[in-house]
């Protein structure tokens, strides 16, 4: 009797209505879990990747970059290059409108580009070459240059943070170091400010006035941007296990950046596909402080090269599958400038003993080495642990400081010696595009006090960077890139510790995703 009652109860339980209903196949709403909370809405003010992804939904650009790193017109209908490259006139496509209904004018583009040029390294280079930028009329803007700028269109199509997004002039006139307050673009989706709840929820609706470019194929940020969903919702879920469970239950459609242990779990679900978000891999580096001993001495930096096994660093991030990581020099593998010049320094036999001997030869006498790193950001945290182990095996006097990422980025800005709270080494990773060329690869700069954290003073690297900007064609750029890599592995502004594939997870009924990063056009439900 009791058993019968139990079975009856169980049957009733099983028959209860199921509240957690997944997304039906025909749903026109896409539910997405981004890599982080969307805190700032200004893609020029901050360089956070999550803001970049938001911005590609809302804004458009004059030129997109295809997966082969070729600039392609987006908002531009065409251009005329005159005076041997010292004058470029760009004409806007007809009928472009902002989300507030106002037409996109050349004056909007001028103001937007002027703001962008203050914050992007390639834009700064363009600004230095610029004599005048003005709107000729509502549809035409003209760049007058002091000298030809071969990277002109590559700069305007630059997908790295911050990208040259076009905003209304009234918004783009904001100081580039102040956040904008309105989010009005002309891109395929409209941001819905009333529904925005930072840390929880972001919503967008399809822009019915958006006119995708007529020709071409969607490729990275170039080609036609077809918006297939009426509405896109970002659900900020910070806990990976919860996000994974929501994806499995069909409560969300796409989980941008599941950590490796969660990927293993998701691979077991037939409704979920786990795939590389980009065909390119993310580069990672071990950065030295060039201001203070011991790594102000080039020989000390070189001494560590035989100890670095890139596979160790990459395995710590993505696990043991060798398909998910690659050896690398200073440019992202698979990009036009990637090369093998000087790679024997990183690809030859690895030896801690050799590194110890080189350290001794370089005059290492037990000076304090402070390795700083985070515990809360996957890739830098994993690599910092590997570096800590490497330094311990080298027998150096190591101070291993682990904090949260917020503290690391503050501490790495300190130029003080280690005795006064400074640092010697830290590790971090970048987006694939950033290391595609010398313009975006800012740790490669050698301009001393003005350089990125670590402040290497390597004038030769600066000369080569300038030469690359002036290179007339890709072959010339490639030759310079080889020289840059040779110099970098000789002077060691940092040690490349490999590149890894970033994975994403989405429901199998989503098709048409454009590889690169979290891009939402062309994506549809099958």
């Amino acid at each position: 009797m009791l058993r019968r009652s139990f079975l009856a109860g169980a049957a009733v339980g099983a028959a209860l209505p199921r509240f957690a209903i997944g997304q039906p196949a025909g749903s026109r709403v896409l539910k997405f879990v981004p890599q982080a909370n969307l805190t700032s809405l200004d893609p020029i003010w901050t360089t956070a990747n999550v803001t970049r992804n938001h911005a590609w939904l809302v804004y458009d650009v004059l030129y997109g970059m295809d997966a082969g790193f070729r600039p392609q017109p987006q908002m531009a209908a065409g251009h005329a290059v005159e005076e041997e490259g010292r004058s470029v006139t760009i004409t806007l496509r007809e009928g472009l409108r902002f989300h507030d209904g106002e037409p996109v004018r050349a004056a909007d583009c001028v103001a937007s580009l002027q703001r962008w040029m203050k914050r992007n390294s390639m834009g700064q280079k363009l600004e230095a070459a610029l004599e005048d930028l003005s709107a000729l009329d509502d549809r035409r803007l003209r760049f007058r240059l002091k000298r030809p700028f071969p990277m002109f269109f590559a700069a305007l199509a630059n997908p790295s943070n911050p990208a040259p997004f076009i905003m209304p002039e009234r918004i783009a006139r904001t100081d580039p170091f102040q956040q904008i307050r309105d989010t009005v673009g002309s891109g395929p989706y409209r941001f819905l400010p009333r529904e925005y709840n930072s840390g929880s929820f972001v919503a967008y609706e399809r822009n019915p006035d958006y006119r995708p470019v007529a020709a071409g194929e969607p490729s990275l940020t170039a080609g036609p941007k077809q918006a297939h969903f009426d509405r896109i919702e970002w659900h900020i879920i910070v806990d990976p296990a919860t996000a994974a469970a929501a994806l499995q239950a069909g409560e969300i459609d796409w989980y941008e950046q599941p950590p490796p242990e969660i990927q293993q779990l998701l691979r077991r679900n037939r409704q979920v596909a786990v795939e590389p978000i980009d065909r390119l891999q993310n580069p990672a580096i071990l950065r030295f402080n060039h201001l203070h001993p011991p790594f102000n001495d080039r020989r000390m930096r070189q001494a560590l090269l035989p100890a670095v096994d890139q596979a160790d660093y990459m395995t710590a991030i993505v696990g043991p599958d060798p398909a998910l990581y690659s050896p690398m020099g200073v440019f992202t593998p698979g990009t036009p400038l990637a090369n093998d010049a000087g790679m024997e320094a990183l690809a030859g036999p690895r030896s801690i003993d050799r590194a110890k001997a080189l350290l001794k030869e370089a005059g290492y006498t037990d000076q304090l080495i402070r390795l700083i790193g985070p515990t809360d950001i996957l890739a830098p945290a994993a690599m910092t642990q590997v570096a800590g182990d490497m330094f311990r095996r080298l027998g150096v006097n190591l101070d291993f400081v682990l904090t949260d990422w917020g503290s690391v980025i503050q501490r790495r800005a300190s130029r003080e010696p280690v005795e006064k709270g400074g640092w010697s080494v830290f590790l971090t990773a970048f987006a694939s595009f950033e290391f595609a060329d010398p313009a975006g690869n800012f740790p490669l700069r050698g301009n001393g006090a003005g350089a990125w954290f670590g402040w290497p003073g390597i004038p030769r690297l600066e000369e080569l960077r300038d030469a690359w900007f002036d290179a007339p064609d890709l072959d010339a750029q490639k030759r310079i890139a080889r020289e840059i890599q040779l110099t970098a592995l000789e002077e060691v502004p940092y040690i490349p510790v490999g590149s890894y594939t970033s994975m994403t997870a989405l429901r199998r009924n989503l098709v048409g995703r454009v590889p690169g990063f979290a891009l939402f056009w062309n994506l549809r439900r099958s």
Partner: protein
């Protein structure tokens, strides 16, 4: 009584001032720089300095503290460094989920824990008593996030009865609101139930030994009447005190529970703000939590008079 309430309310002012000073100083001294977070990897030190100046973070400690306190006195908690939204707006956006979670947990906990404790005391030494105490030990020992994951796995993923995550506002219907909160409230309530059940049992055991209980029995009062009218009312003061103290547990637990179940509440807001060094938000939320805690304790103190007429203020 009225004078006492006024005195207590006035006493909260120095408490809140101390909390404000402590929170502000702690954040001032803590490592981390929101300007560096905002500026990103490509920023030069000069860019970071410009952003720091534009946010007013380069001003002296006393100027910043004075400006913040003045703002609070005028009902302005400042503006989030990152979202550019007023802190009061951000708190207003997040207060409903947290309040909902805490109230539901409180109701659940008191409804379950008090009868459990009473029954355990009545059946002292029996299997029921041991089961209740065993549950209490379990409730104390298993972390909230473990319970949360287990509940989500069983009831959301396996049985598909309830959603894994999220929050639906009460304005969109009671049932959807409840569906989203059942699992988090059970997960968060575990430790709270354990605490209240143990205190209830211990206090009841003491009260049940009193002469007036024997008198009540001698007069022929029923078991229910003895337990819930004579004993429980006299045991109420320590129980109510623990319920009040437990609010702090709930606030702490809400941070974890809101993360596990992706509830957009104040706990999540606090954690996000701490990780980003969003000082105005951290200061605003901590100040609010402190105020709530002080207020709850005041209410608990006033509630004593309801249970024990000998207490006079």
């Amino acid at each position: 009584m009225f004078a006492y309430v006024i005195r207590r309310v006035l006493a909260t002012i120095p408490v809140m001032a101390l909390v404000a000073l402590f929170v502000f100083s702690l954040l001032y001294l803590a490592p981390g720089d929101p300007a560096a977070v905002i500026a990103g990897d490509q920023a030069t030190p000069q860019d970071v300095e410009r952003i720091r100046a534009s946010l007013g973070l380069d001003r002296p400690y006393l100027v910043r503290f004075g400006s913040w306190v003045w703002g609070i006195l005028n009902g302005d908690m400042g503006v989030s460094i990152f979202t550019n939204l007023p802190v009061t707006t951000m708190i207003a956006q997040r207060i409903e989920p947290t309040l909902s979670l805490m109230i539901l947990t409180l109701i659940l906990a008191v409804t379950i824990a008090v009868p459990m404790g009473v029954v355990a005391a009545w059946k002292q030494g029996t299997l029921i008593d041991r089961a209740v105490m065993g549950f209490a030990v379990l409730g104390f020992s298993v972390p909230v996030f473990v319970v949360g994951y287990l509940l989500a796995y069983v009831f959301a993923l396996e049985l598909d009865w309830l959603p894994v995550q999220g929050y639906t506002a009460l304005s969109k219907g009671f049932l959807p609101w409840l569906e989203n909160l059942v699992l988090p409230a059970v997960a968060l309530g575990g430790v709270y139930i354990a605490l209240i059940a143990r205190i209830t049992r211990a206090t009841m055991l003491e009260v049940l030994q009193q002469d007036y209980i024997r008198t009540a029995r001698a007069k022929g009062a029923g078991q229910g009447s003895i337990l819930f009218l004579h004993a429980l009312k006299n045991a109420a003061v320590p129980i109510v005190t623990v319920i009040g103290i437990g609010i702090a547990l709930l606030i702490g637990g809400a941070v974890v529970t809101e993360s596990v179940f992706a509830i957009p509440g104040l706990g999540r807001l606090t954690v996000d703000a701490i990780l980003r060094r969003d000082y105005p938000v951290i200061q605003g939320v901590v100040l609010l939590f402190s105020f709530v805690y002080v207020l709850v304790n005041l209410i608990i103190d006033l509630a004593y008079t309801l249970f024990d007429p000998r207490i006079r203020y």
